[in-house]
């Protein structure tokens, strides 16, 4: 080992790294972003979740329960006038969970102190958000039981002070929680993950495959030649997108069939609608790959860009981690990720059987994203430096 030679080699490597702003940025940004994403944003803790509450009891006990929910960091209660209104809000994604407090809540609580059956709170989750529902359920049950126990204890104390005597509080805090999930009653994770996997595959793989296409052609010299033919930029763009789009659309069909045959997960809604929307989303993802390709000097750079862009796509799109559990500013940011909307549509069709009318807002956003990215891809290809 020669120290001088080693120093020379190390110095060259350091200089090469520091000279390249992209590599430097990756070296600094990726660890920080990963740390923040996994440690802060992607925590399984439930924070600030909007919960719809229909209080049929309108008693002091129910008001106390709602106040305790509001006082926790986990839930933000919003009142509704009927149970059906809560279900509708849940479907629209306005709330993450629903709570129905029965009319006899306070009376049941009092009966429970005398050894009667404890009151039952009905909690509704969107089963299409299986992970979120699983996380939230534990938090909710904890708060409800703690509140119930305190209410029962205070009631027992009051009765003792009044000399009326009382039985022991019901085991488990005196409040029962009955959970019901809409659309995915068993909270089964497979349909949830299957529907999300389409988003992951179509976002990442399509971009990765196209990311190297133009940069490779540029290096081979064929792209210059192509640009000098009478073919317009739009023709060149579509010439790249359509064949790959068709291949990936076929992939979607295969995935739908495979998920159905091997996992028993079939779309609850129209498979044709799902495939059509997926085919459109593929074209949009391919555009993103072309943008990376057209703005990179080498294939390696294009791949690096793709991998970097996949981090927020995977972590923040709701594919694996529930968006409603993320801090509010991050939830806003996730709306800027096209995969968020596609995965939402995918789960809505797969798990809720949603149709076009219900999906219109999300579809409109996807169309806007698609038009925007196609436009950028077109401009990027047209640019002559």
């Amino acid at each position: 080992m020669n120290a001088r030679r080693l120093r020379t080699l190390v110095r060259r490597e350091v200089n090469a790294t520091l000279r390249d702003p992209f590599t430097l940025g990756v070296l600094i940004a990726v660890p920080l972003v990963a740390l923040l994403l996994f440690g802060f944003i992607l925590s399984t803790k439930v924070e600030d979740m909007r919960i719809g509450v229909y209080d049929a009891s309108r008693s002091s006990a129910s008001r106390r329960l709602i106040a305790d929910l509001a006082a926790s960091d986990s839930f933000r209660p919003r009142r509704f006038e009927t149970g059906e209104a809560i279900e509708r809000a849940l479907v629209r994604g306005e709330i993450g969970a629903g709570l129905v407090i029965p009319a006899d809540f306070e009376r049941s609580l009092l009966r429970a102190t005398a050894g009667g059956a404890p009151p039952e709170l009905r909690v509704l989750y969107d089963g299409a958000e299986a992970v979120l529902a699983g996380n939230a359920e534990a938090f909710f049950a904890g708060i409800a039981r703690a509140t119930g126990a305190q209410l029962v204890a205070s009631d027992v104390t009051a009765r003792r002070l009044a000399g009326a005597g009382a039985g022991s509080p019901a085991p488990g805090g005196g409040v029962g929680v009955v959970t019901r999930a809409l659309f995915n009653p068993s909270f089964e994770g497979t349909p949830f993950m299957v529907a999300g996997t389409f988003g992951f595959v179509l976002s990442f793989l399509t971009t990765l495959l196209t990311a190297v296409s133009i940069v490779n052609e540029r290096q081979a010299g064929t792209f210059d030649q192509l640009q000098l033919t009478p073919a317009s930029t739009l023709e060149i763009l579509l010439g790249k997108l359509l064949p790959l789009g068709a291949v990936f659309a076929f992939d979607v069909v295969l995935m739908v069939i495979a998920a159905g045959l091997f996992m028993g997960v079939w779309p609850q809604g129209s498979a044709l609608l799902f495939i059509a929307i997926s085919a459109f989303y593929v074209v949009f993802s391919l555009s993103l790959g072309l943008i990376f390709s057209a703005t990179s000097a080498t294939a390696a750079e294009a791949v690096q860009k793709t991998v970097l862009s996949s981090i927020p796509t995977i972590q923040l799109s709701g594919f694996a981690f529930p968006i409603r559990s993320m801090p509010l500013p991050i939830q806003w940011f996730t709306e800027l990720i096209p995969a968020t909307h596609y995965i939402r549509v995918s789960r809505a069709i797969y798990l809720r059987g949603a149709g076009v009318a219900e999906l219109l807002p999300e579809l409109a956003i996807l169309v806007l994203f698609g038009a925007f990215l196609l436009g950028i891809a077109l401009r990027t290809l047209e640019r002559r430096a």
Binding site: T222, Q225, L228
Partner: protein, 319 residues
């Protein structure tokens, strides 16, 4: 020059603080072979990419066959053929499939394609290579195939960017014959090369150095201006040397005796110069006459030595 097919005025290209091409003017006459010479990194490829519309100039205008390239880059595409430093054939496709691909983009119908490709295939000697993939072809054949493809749609101007780079000497000679054939058919050829000796295949030569045009003339004009011209060595009988020396002087040669030889120089040896030389030396029973031409490398070295400060208009005056 009346109605040049390529007319560039004040053409510049800057990349950040670096000026790759600095306010050059170019005029290329129809039907000529125009060589654009310079060292590696001198701005040749940047200039050619601006001329064909692949790069947007930072300043200046380009008119190609009457069309403003900056305003209508797509309109010039059918009029130009281009072959870059890397031959633009798709790997994985046979030569024939490449031909069909480009023919499709240029809208050449099947019957027309057979006729055109048949002629081009024979002229470029590509029959053996037609069903081979480019990656399996020797470099020289690949270059010919690239040139064949760039002429398939019958362009009016052919831009060749270092077409003979990486090709052996024999293939380069054959390649230049093909370029001259194209020129004979009326195609204007704009060719960049760093093989300076290839300038002698061309009608007109421009030199670029560090982004500036430092000369633009015919090969002979450049030799006359930027070299000691032609050197003629004659071995004569001792008795006639004095007379021949005097006659060469009267015929416009700068001549001197060196040992038992006469050495004469003249800036340019055109047909009139050759006639005068033969009039002087013809009657002599000379043992031998040797004529040396100054190489383009010498011309370029002298151009650089004299200072790249020579502006294009001054260089043009050397024509």
């Amino acid at each position: 020059m009346a109605d040049p097919i390529i007319l560039a005025r004040g053409l510049s290209k800057r990349f950040g603080d670096f000026t790759a091409v600095d306010a050059i003017d170019l005029e290329v006459e129809r039907g000529v072979i125009f060589a654009f010479l310079g060292a590696n990194g001198s701005g040749k490829s940047t200039t050619i990419r601006m001329l064909i519309g692949l790069l947007t100039p930072s300043a200046g205008t380009i008119v190609l066959d009457g069309i403003d390239v900056g305003l209508h880059p797509r309109q010039v595409r059918e009029r130009i053929g281009y072959m870059g430093q890397k031959v633009s054939l798709y790997a994985g496709l046979t030569l024939r499939q490449n031909v069909e691909f480009y023919a499709g983009l240029y809208g050449i119908e099947a019957g027309d394609l057979e006729r055109r490709w048949g002629a081009v295939r024979e002229r470029f000697d590509l029959a053996q290579a037609e069903h081979e993939r480019p990656e399996n072809l020797p470099a020289g054949v690949r270059q010919r195939a690239g040139l064949a493809l760039s002429t398939l749609h019958a362009p009016r101007v052919l831009f060749l960017d270092e077409p003979t780079a990486g090709v052996d000497v024999e293939s380069r000679g054959l390649f230049w014959e093909l370029i001259q054939d194209a020129s004979d058919e009326g195609v204007t050829v704009f060719v960049t090369t760093h093989f300076l000796e290839e300038a002698d295949y061309c009608d007109r030569v421009a030199f670029i150095d560090a982004g500036r045009l430092i000369a633009d003339s015919t090969p002979e004009g450049l030799r006359a201006r930027y070299s000691s011209g032609y050197r003629i060595e004659a071995s004569l009988a001792a008795g006639s040397r004095e007379r021949v020396l005097a006659e060469l002087g009267r015929a416009g040669f700068v001549a001197e005796a060196q040992g038992d030889q006469l050495v004469a120089r003249i800036p340019a040896l055109d047909s009139e110069g050759l006639r005068r030389l033969s009039l002087v030396l013809g009657p002599e029973a000379a043992a031998s006459v040797r004529i040396e031409q100054a190489s383009m490398n010498d011309v370029f070295r002298r151009l650089i030595r004299e200072g790249a400060a020579l502006a294009a208009p001054a260089a043009g005056a050397a024509t």
